[in-house]
Subunit: 465 residues, 2 copies
């Protein structure tokens, strides 16, 4: 996967906001090695099962020319074989807990909260751009605590933080919940998740936060001396969000014309498109547009000027629409003459002439704010109307199979059971996305949609990326 | 290598400043894959020679349990062997030029300037923390141009940018020069470098910028249609600066007490150290310090408050000194009573009482500015006094061998010759660091210090990290 500048800029805006909020939450950034000895992976039993089957393995530290072959033919040098293979990190719990063991001695060292911005590799046989790639970029936070309660509260705090940023910046509403045992992170006691609903009715796991119990502390023997002088294992969390969010953004908001980007993360928020036929017109329009550009720029907005000659206005409009730019301002000789621009929002509402008077910046900002809100509202309505309560398993199965508008998330009473979960997946291709954090009381007195036994949870099923 | 939060914060300040300047220079950030097919490396002949001997090679995409062994014993799964090994990027020219070939068609696509913040791996048998590590973090810029002149100018522009940031933020003065042919980057026509002088008299290459000619364009067949309609190969540069700079910072400024950090990158710029014996004193001092803290914080300074009880003031002072904090403000009951703090600079000048009046923030800022300037001045004096013109090769050899105060950089007339360069290295352990960009005219009419032939350059020799 290559992330080109337009896509990478979106990631940068999201990253900067997350970085600032994560620091405010008390975590500090650090950096741990990319290459991890394979024996580290083995120390936590569930972790090795989860990741050993999809990791890139480094076995040599040198290439050599293939003996007897033409120049340029290379092979791993048998004399440079590593005694112990290294794996490219699929996640960093093992190396971080190896270090936590050296850093944590006393209750005074707790809580310890570190965050890392990094690349990770989880080998994928079938990849999808942004959604499922062997390498992705992410942020991974790791914390150690004196008590289970404090660790679990931290795991919940971070999933709320992710839900909040996803909603505010990306205009993606999510269902917040906890994973069923079979969908937990390898080595976690509980995995909290946020799940978005894409336009095709499929769910997408947007971020996760794990309460790791004492599993890693025990695997790496990380203890602390409590204020009473007892040696106790510490309690842990980890939590992450990835470049997959760029994929979620595309799949949530795009339309038939192309991308639709929320102003909060759009690399270009306002495109000034200049329209002119003669050199005289060009001069007047450019002068007027430059002044408008400077004012919006000074207000901190991200603005582009499209003054390309020899290109039809319609072709210019289409290009900015395709790129998802939230607000286009057309400026022709007549607009310049009457000291106005003709504004077209990427979604919602008709074009309108806006005077370039003392309110120009404020009006532009409020148009952008409207677009951001409109995008969120549309996505929220979709999530609401396509989260269905069905009367029977048969109905859910039919609707999942129908796909498109009829499909979505299915909120059903469920008795927690890994075997039945697997059967539903095999029969419908829908998976148990989560038990929502809110509204669990609805299951009381209801029967499981699959087994008919008394329900233990309200569960969300959906097909997923 | 693990970079802990205190060190990583320094990297973040440096990175943010570089990122902003690199964007202003016209480059946009993007991201390219970590794992590169080994055949890509072979396409540029010099490049493969330079990097194939020190790269981590991924040969498998799965581990398996060792058959018959106890659980937890893993090995690369023979059924998951890659058809073509992948290398962990030692640098990204090959993958980037593979993509440039798809993106560049016409002169309108030029210049193309991309930057990437990434981790790279160059296998090291003997490592040193921060200075020589198998994995390091860096920024790598890659540009494509229509003409050789424009590309060479870009390579020079970026080495100037690095020299400027290194000097302004890290208070490290450098010698800017060009590498001799044998020290060039693998695949470059010219490598520009900045070299700092550490306190032990060794040089450290701080950053490099390469004019790549058409080598990569030809290896990856990247051409553009000129405005005349001709197909021509493009011209290239690449340039990078790494986490090694944290090592350069430590080796340039530290003293016997510990770190000395320039205010521009210090994670904590001002430490307020509270001194009290009774609870009554504590209350008064804390209240006074909180107000001072808020004012400095509001000015954008990075401030820490040390209100630890049961710790001797001397122990607190020592800890903040060891951490390299530029400015310490001691606040005891008497200071609070007279509305002042007692300020101690980490280097340069005696302690002084500073009133917490309306000029408090301004005085604090100017103290920090003084420290930054004092650090730069000291480093400049050292670079100047220890850059020596020697009368003979024998003298240089003796001084290099003596080391310490007597050693440093040796500016000598030289006839460019890779063989003689190698001999000097074998005989003295000093290497040819660069031909300085300024002052080359000094060589005119002089004879090479080694061969006795007419000199072609003024060269800087030094031992180096």
């Amino acid at each position: 996967m290559v992330i080109r500048p337009h896509g990478f800029a979106i990631w940068e805006f999201l990253r900067d906001e997350l970085d600032s909020r994560i620091k405010k939450s008390g975590a500090r950034n650090a950096y741990f090695p990319l290459l991890i000895p394979q024996s580290f992976l083995s120390k936590e039993a569930a972790h090795v099962d989860g990741f050993s089957k999809e990791c890139a393995v480094v076995t040599h530290h040198r290439l050599r020319a293939v003996p007897g072959a033409p120049p340029g033919n290379l092979e791993p040098d048998p004399d440079a074989k590593l005694e112990e293979p290294l794996i490219v990190r699929p996640t960093s719990e093992t190396i971080i807990w190896h270090m936590f063991g050296r850093w944590i001695q006393s209750y005074r060292d707790l809580p310890l909260a570190l965050n890392q911005w990094a690349n990770v590799v989880r080998w994928e046989m079938r990849t999808r751009p942004f959604l499922r790639t062997s390498e992705f970029l992410w942020q991974e936070g790791h914390t150690a605590h004196a008590t289970a309660e404090e660790a679990d509260a931290k795991a919940k705090e971070m999933i709320h933080l992710y839900a909040d940023v996803t909603r505010q910046m990306l205009a993606i509403p999510v269902v917040m919940g906890v994973k069923s045992p079979s969908e937990r992170f390898a080595g976690a006691e509980d995995t909290y998740t946020i799940e978005g609903l894409m336009q095709n009715g499929w769910a997408l796991q947007a971020a996760t936060s794990h309460f790791l119990g004492q599993n890693f502390a025990k695997a790496f023997d990380v203890t602390y001396k409590s204020s009473d002088g007892d040696e106790e294992h510490v309690w842990a969390t980890s939590w992450g969000i990835t470049t997959r969010m760029i994929g979620a953004l595309i799949m949530t908001h795009s339309d038939d014309t192309g991308l639709v980007l929320p102003p909060a993360v759009a690399p270009v928020q306002v495109a000034l498109v200049l329209i002119f036929k003669s050199e005289e017109q060009r001069k007047a329009v450019v002068q007027f547009a430059d002044a408008a550009f400077s004012r919006l720029k000074a207000r901190g907005l991200r603005v582009a000027v499209d003054d390309r000659p020899n290109m039809r206005p319609g072709a210019k409009y289409y290009e900015w629409e395709r790129k998802g730019v939230p607000l286009r301002m057309e400026i022709g000789p007549r607009d310049a003459a009457k000291n106005a621009v003709f504004a077209a929002k990427r979604i919602g509402g008709a074009k309108q002439s806006i005077p370039v008077d003392e309110d120009f910046e404020a009006v532009t900002c409020s148009l952008l704010e409207e677009i951001q809100q409109e995008m969120l509202q549309r996505a929220e309505e979709r999530l609401k109307s396509r989260t269905r309560r069905v009367a029977s398993y048969a109905e859910m199965k039919d609707l999942v199979a129908a796909g498109g508008e009829d499909s979505g998330m299915f909120l059903v009473p469920w008795k927690c059971d890994s075997g039945n979960e697997r059967k539903v997946r095999e029969e419908t291709k829908a998976t148990l996305r989560c038990y929502p954090l809110e509204g669990q009381e609805e299951c009381i007195g209801k029967d499981c949609i699959y087994s008919g036994d008394p329900a233990t949870h309200m569960a969300v099923f959906a097909r997923n990326y």
